[in-house]
Symmetry: C2
Subunit: 346 residues, 2 copies
DNA sequence: CTGAAAGCGCTAACAA
DNA sequence: TTGTTAGCGCTTTCAG
């Protein structure tokens, strides 16, 4: 006795009205007699009706679903496909992104579909998924600057919004941070607290964000009379941060301040300093970037440049919706302002 | 000139066959003349056809989508809704789960929809989403034993598979680990390496998994002549692990081995020990549980009981598909075997 | 303000 | 082996 799920028709009969009227009530369209609205709502409750998503999507040409894509730049060298997912999610960055996206979507009864696009095949799958209309658009978070996905989707006119300015220029909407301003804040804070021999550990320099943070930091240091700043390149991982710090100290043993281009590296820096017997912040002050969960997990908690990830991710979803609904047709860029969060490390 | 997306009809005309034939080719159904198959495939390529997901879902009554639900036990006390998502994703556990699920789904051109169910309202939304047929079933990962979601879905006969035996008994399929066996391995390893004053830090004891790990550990210790084992309860967080260790040491200063019921706590234990000037493993050996990313991040890397999360998650997806397709109608339990991974901490 | 009716694009009987 | 056709359940003109 597996009874068929109730349809609009059933509710209509129960309420003594037409399908159209029930549909109007379900979709909150005005111009329906309040009394009838109540009757319909009763009938819905009585029958346990739930509108069929596929039928609705078919006629409205909208899945009411967005894809959340974590995208890399790899080719089809297959192995490590599984690793990509776990590594991407392990980034403390990710939780805040999802939180922001979900915060925007949930009130709209929408939920993100999680996709990984680390190979050519996976990228084609993302495009295919969108073409099938299973998702209306994609929120793209690239781990590499050379990610070909944005261009791929743009070429097919599939709606998408990127996190961060694309490395390969493409007519695409994106959300980004004023990285230079953030780096400036870090520099000024270190100088204000009295640091005079300050170095910086950058992210991978093929990333625009890493370049901008470096440029902003240098700029500000120069303006304050420090034209030469020791620089070491890191890879945004804790180990790479620790290694970069050791390289820096070898050349410049008297460093008293470090700006690391993300919190994860800054945390590595703090650990390395502790091992070397240098106190943070007394001997060396450390400033991170992002204000990710790594900032609080570090010992001591990091002074850092906060990137409002939740709002940025939510805004991405909002921009994507506009693009899907055709409210906006031209690519746009929205740049958020960073904020200095002072904790114990500097 | 926004040309309408090509439909089955267009491909059929292009290939000079009927819609049905194109449909058969698209869906890989036999009994189609190879020559015609080629012609159809050509036509598909020429037109750039992609089957409409909604239309397909409408007629097959299947969305080809699974929900991946992270579920709590909270009520509607609203605040911290956003926190729930980021906290859940911050768990090193999560990356492996997603990796396993995606590994199973991707070859089937399926992708998980990410949902969070930490309040009554959110739980109702999950049920509604399934009732609408926007997803065919749910993979449920509960953070609390008292999670009401499984029972809610089971009552509506909505397909779902749980990670871990439900705290509230319900006729639901689930995947779990032989926790007792895992704890036994930990105990035997500590004893084998010569530890004689061994303590354990448990997870929240309302969780069946935490209870089982404790029981298995005690059982084995007893069998080997250690009827009394100091126990402290933790909360599966690093801080709670460190705190529990300090409590234990206060009562039992000469402890030479600790079994922590997860890696995150074990990591906290290692840090606390280091601060107290005790070496790991020379002074105190530490064994964790899970083999999550925390195990490698710890200093030293943790000896731990591996839980094959990826396989378990993949199996959940598989079991859910069976349930959706009606291949299996009775609730089932699949229990996985743990494995001891020996690293530096014990 | 409400109802009748025409599809949305596809699959799956059933016929040929 | 291929084609014809009847829906899947809903939204949305267009009449009334």
């Amino acid at each position: 006795m597996t009874r068929r799920a109730p349809r609009l028709e059933d509710v209509a009969r129960e309420a003594g009205v037409s399908r159209a009227t029930v549909s109007r009530v379900v979709n909150g369209i005005r111009n329906v007699d309040p009394a009838i609205q109540d009757a319909v709502r009763d009938a819905i409750a009585r029958t346990g009706y739930a509108p069929n998503g596929a039928a609705r999507a078919l006629v409205t040409r909208r899945a009411r679903t967005l894809a959340l894509v974590v995208s890399g730049a790899g080719d089809d060298s297959e192995d490590g496909q599984n690793l990509f997912a776990s590594q991407a999610l392990a980034d403390p960055f990710f939780g805040r992104v999802v939180s922001g996206v979900v915060g925007f979507l949930r009130p709209r009864s929408m939920y993100p579909v999680l996709m990984f696009a680390e190979t050519d095949a996976a990228r084609r799958d993302v495009a295919e998924y969108l073409r099938q209309g299973r998702a209306d658009g994609a929120l793209i978070f690239s781990t590499h600057a050379e990610d070909p996905l944005p261009a791929l989707l743009a070429a097919e006119r599939l709606p998408c919004v990127l996190f961060a300015r694309p490395g390969v220029p493409a007519p695409v909407t994106y959300v980004d941070l004023a990285h230079r301003d953030g780096a400036r804040m870090a520099a000024e804070h270190l100088l204000a607290r009295g640091c005079r021999r300050v170095a910086t550990i950058t992210g991978p320099l093929d990333l625009p964000a890493a370049q901008d943070r470096l440029a902003g930091f240098r700029e500000t240091m120069e303006r304050h009379g420090h034209p030469y700043v020791p620089v070491a390149e890191g890879g945004f991982t804790a180990d790479s941060g620790a290694a970069a710090l050791r390289r820096l100290l070898r050349e410049h043993p008297s460093i008293d301040g470090v700006f690391a281009a993300n919190d994860v590296m800054a945390r590595g820096v703090c650990e390395a300093l502790r091992e070397l017997g240098r106190r943070v912040p007394e001997d060396v002050a450390v400033v991170g970037f992002d204000d990710s969960s790594a900032a609080l997990a570090a010992e001591p908690p990091l002074t850092t440049v906060r990137q409002p990830m939740e709002e940025m991710a939510a805004r991405m979803a909002c921009l994507l919706q506009e693009e899907i609904e055709g409210t906006r047709t031209e690519p746009t860029a929205v740049i958020f302002d960073p904020e200095l969060v002072v904790r114990a490390s500097a």
